[in-house]
């Protein structure tokens, strides 16, 4: 499951926001390679061969572009805040490096035969960083806060609206009743960072509470300080139930400007950075750079796409042949090669290749302008007056593509596609707007086509994106409607048998390839530079973090440690 707050995700990607990329998402380790090293297998530390037992000590300095919204982990919707939450506190269950759900604070769990009741057993001996034990009532309190509208937990509430009630018969038992069986109920709990009830309830106000700036959790690191606009400091939690992490400290520096971030990396002020395509192309291949930094390249669980509005407000895209023609006419392989410096994988589906649900029979649709022209002719769009633009019944094929002004990559992509379509006699004007303005326009269906990106859950659930009922308020902004898709996307949510479930999503992907409600453009690749002294770095299907152990598994051999105990930044 992903943090659905890609927040300024694509913006971040385009600007190569510091750790915004390093945190949350990532892709399969099977394609993650360190230059000069063979590709690693799933979930294995990238430096596996050289790794001895982790050695304690040292401080790692990471970077992000802006302050986290809040360290009230329930309220915050941004990636940075989720990242801190993953270190300072724990969840009942979490993904491991292979993307499978494992127990953390919950040592075991079970589901009733009707699939409606989940029972979690809280691990004994887990303590809050103030010493109090973690109990089932803390889990219940966490859920209660997520569901309370006053908490404004917009990025989490959607995962738990199916909950009817909870029970805490004793300190170790946490029971949750759902309205209907859901395959994804368990994974939702990876996104509920536990908060200590006994501390939060000291103050009536959940949003204006000292804990929002100085959180207390039960995770591997404890919060030390947050210097607004400057840095956040965490230190190892000696009392962590699963053993103290190897690093003494983690400092998150806040550096808004991408040029400054790269220089800070090269000056040795930060230890890891996600690079922009331009930075990769111009600076990161020099030997003096690769000598100091290991480079990681891995796909993101993210799809970049164009949505074609089918609500009949335009005369073009309700016709499936036209949508197919659009995809054939857009030179996606050329775009990735020329404008993205190769930092993207051609997409055949919304699901990435690394997912169990990916349909291996699918191939990305090729670039085929002649095929596009034939389809447009067949659909009745011909250039009868010879002005270079096709028309039908006197209406020229001219529309506007809406996209967010979040960075150079968006601009380059839009311009590239505009030229592609001109070649097949279609005029596409570009409307570049500020990000939230675009969301507004897309949400109210005031567009013909829009280009955007979507952070994907680890689960392939397609209901919100492609079910016809989700056209008004869900993510089916293009008003796509196909009865078979509706039936399958409902079935996929209820099918507990893995083989049958895989078959459902294989068919869903076939239908999408045929119908092309979206043109799947690409799954972007992350490019991260990380100081070579750091070991234990693992790339999971969700990236470098948001799985166990993530950063908590990083360490530095004693001989290479840069900060002796007590001399670390922020000490």
């Amino acid at each position: 499951m992903s943090r659905r707050v890609p927040s300024r995700f694509f913006a971040a990607l385009a600007l190569a926001s510091g750790l915004a990329a390093l945190c949350g998402c990532g892709g399969s380790s099977s394609t993650a390679t360190a230059p000069g090293a063979a590709p690693d297998s799933g979930g294995v530390p990238l430096d596996g061969a050289s790794a001895g037992p982790p050695e304690r000590g040292d401080c790692v300095r990471l970077v992000d572009t802006a302050d986290p919204q809040s360290l009230n982990f329930i309220r915050a919707t941004d990636r940075f805040s989720s990242q801190i939450a993953g270190l300072v506190t724990d969840t009942l269950v979490q993904y491991d490096a292979k993307g499978e759900v494992i127990g953390r604070v919950a040592e075991s769990w079970s589901v009733s035969d009707d699939g409606l009741t989940w029972t979690f057993r809280i691990r004994p001996g887990v303590r809050w960083q103030d010493g109090a034990p973690v109990t089932s009532r803390d889990a219940a309190y966490t859920l209660e806060r997520i569901l309370d509208p006053r908490s404004r937990a917009v990025s989490r509430i959607g995962y738990f609206t199916g909950v009817v009630s909870v029970e805490t018969p004793d300190d170790a038992t946490f029971r949750v009743h759902y309205r209907e069986p859901s395959v994804t109920a368990l994974a939702s709990w990876t996104d509920a960072p536990l908060i200590p009830r006994h501390l939060w309830e000291k103050q009536a106000d959940f949003l204006d509470n000292p804990l929002c700036r100085a959180p207390v959790g039960c995770g591997p690191f404890r919060f030390v300080s947050w210097d607004a606009g400057r840095q956040i400091v965490l230190e190892a939690n000696d009392g962590y139930w699963d053993g103290r992490p190897a690093l003494d400290r983690i400092v998150f520096r806040i550096i808004p400007q991408d040029t400054t971030r790269l220089q800070a990396l090269e000056l040795g002020e930060v230890d890891a950075l996600s690079l922009t395509p331009d930075q990769v192309a111009t600076r990161a291949d020099r030997p003096e750079f690769t000598r100091r930094f290991r480079r990681l390249t891995y796909p993101l669980p993210y799809v970049y796409y164009i949505g074609w509005n089918m609500d009949r407000s335009n005369p073009f895209f309700s016709d499936r042949r036209v949508r197919q023609a659009m995809t054939l006419a857009l030179d996606r392989p050329g775009l990735l090669r020329d404008a993205w410096h190769g930092l993207g994988i051609a997409a055949a589906s919304y699901i990435t290749r690394e997912s169990w649900a990916y349909n291996p029979a699918l191939r990305p649709i090729p670039y085929d302008p002649a095929g596009a022209a034939a389809l447009l002719d067949a659909a009745g769009w011909t250039d009868s007056d010879g002005d270079g633009v096709r028309e039908k019944g006197g209406v020229p094929f001219a529309f506007t593509l809406l996209y967010a002004a979040t960075g150079k990559m968006n601009d380059d992509t839009a311009a590239y596609f505009q030229e592609n379509l001109r070649k097949v006699g279609v005029r596409m004007d570009l409307s570049r707007t500020e990000f939230r303005t675009m969301l507004d326009l897309v949400g109210s269906h005031r567009f013909a086509a829009f280009m955007s990106g979507l952070t994907l859950d680890a689960d392939p659930d397609a209901f919100d994106m492609f079910h016809s009922s989700q056209a008004r308020d869900g993510n089916n902004r293009v008003s796509y409607s196909n009865p078979e898709m509706d039936r399958l996307s409902e079935q996929g949510r209820r099918e507990f048998d893995p083989a049958r479930r895989r078959a459902v999503y294989a068919r869903i992907q076939e239908i999408l390839a045929e119908d092309q409600p979206w043109t799947f453009v690409s799954h972007p690749l992350m490019n991260v530079a990380i100081d070579r002294r750091i070991r234990g770095v693992t790339v999971s299907p969700l990236g470098l973090q948001q799985f166990w152990p993530g950063i908590a598994g990083w360490w530095v051999p004693r001989a290479e440690q840069r900060f002796p105990a007590g001399a670390a930044p922020g000490a």
Partner: protein
């Protein structure tokens, strides 16, 4: 004099009220819902019901004039409301960022004036001389160079190659362990590049303005009279021309506040300076209306205060105005 100030204060109050109404309307009519979740994953979509409840809870479902009234009545009690992003009081958020911006703006102002005035005086003593011509050319040239470019070049030269100055930030990691004097020096070093970037645009403008005023004063009768009394050009310039030329500069000083604020938005970003300029940019991105209103109010207040202070200083410095004010019933 008092009357004059009171009248000026009344005008300021009306202007401020107008500014708040306008910005309130602007931020509320601008597209983009601050509570809308950003587009995301498949199961995370918030139900419309849940969003509607959140909006009602935040008071967004009320008519605009009621929302403004609420904001105003809170303001009267010194309460700027709560941020929509983190729920914290806006006043605290701004207060945490303001000192960094004030220090930076103060340093930039000192730098700009400290360089502009002596240079203007020297240029005015030898109009058309080497310094005057060369200085004019140089300052016009840098005046037209965008700040972000200058900042990058300065960072490359002084922080990356020479390593004389820190790249960004307000303090070194080591500062925590330093004695107070060491910390102060460390902070001052961090201030050099951002303050220079914020100052240089003003520097050109101030220098030219001061020079023009000095030259004008130099052509007046009192200057000739001073020379006739046996003063040197230099003495006459400092004792007679300068005080006269300073008057219009006082007014200009009041108007530099908005320019400093605008410049700090860019400079704070490039140099990771934790001030209000960055808070402003972040708040626009998240449509955090209460914080935006607070920042607008602050900007308007500072501008008004700057202009008011200039007016008062002007009146205090100009004996003619002072006398006029007293004579009036």
């Amino acid at each position: 004099m008092t009357r004059r100030i009171l009248r000026r204060l009344a005008v300021s109050a009306v202007t401020l009220a107008g500014i708040t109404v306008l910005t309130f309307l602007l931020f509320h009519l601008a597209p983009g819902d601050p509570l809308a979740p950003l587009e995301g994953g498949s199961r995370g979509a918030v139900s419309t019901d849940a969003l509607a409840r959140m909006r009602a809870e935040a008071g967004f479902d009320r008519p605009l004039w009621q929302q403004y009234g609420l904001w105003l009545s809170r303001l009267a009690r010194g309460d700027l409301g709560r941020s929509l992003v983190d729920g914290e009081p806006v006043r605290g958020k701004i207060a945490a960022r303001l000192p960094a911006t004030l220090v930076l703006a103060g340093a930039a102002t000192l730098l700009a004036w400290g360089l502009a005035l002596p240079l203007a005086i020297r240029s005015a003593l030898r109009p058309g001389g080497a310094l005057d011509r060369g200085g004019s050319l140089f300052f016009y040239a840098i005046y037209s160079v965008p700040v972000f470019w200058t900042a990058l070049v300065l960072q490359m030269v002084f922080a990356v190659y020479l390593r004389w100055l820190p790249l960004h930030g307000v303090l070194s990691d080591e500062a925590a362990a330093m004695a107070p004097a060491g910390r102060l020096a460390d902070g001052a070093l961090h201030l050099v590049l951002p303050a220079a970037c914020l100052a240089y645009g003003q520097l050109a403008f101030l220098m030219r303005f001061a020079r023009a005023n000095l030259l004008e004063a130099r052509g007046r009768e009192f200057f000739a009279a001073a020379l006739a009394r046996g003063l040197t050009e230099r003495q006459a310039m400092l004792r007679h021309a300068l005080p006269n030329a300073l008057l219009p500069l006082i007014t200009i000083a009041g108007f530099t506040v908005p320019a400093l604020a605008a410049g700090s938005v860019i400079v704070e970003r490039i140099f990771s300076w934790p001030g209000v300029g960055r808070l402003l940019v972040d708040s626009i991105g998240s449509r955090d209306r209460p914080t935006l209103m607070g920042l607008t109010l602050l900007g308007a207040l500072l501008t008004q205060a700057g202009m008011l202070a200039a007016d008062i200083l002007y009146a205090a410095a100009d004996p003619r105005l002072r006398r006029l004010g007293e004579e009036r019933p």
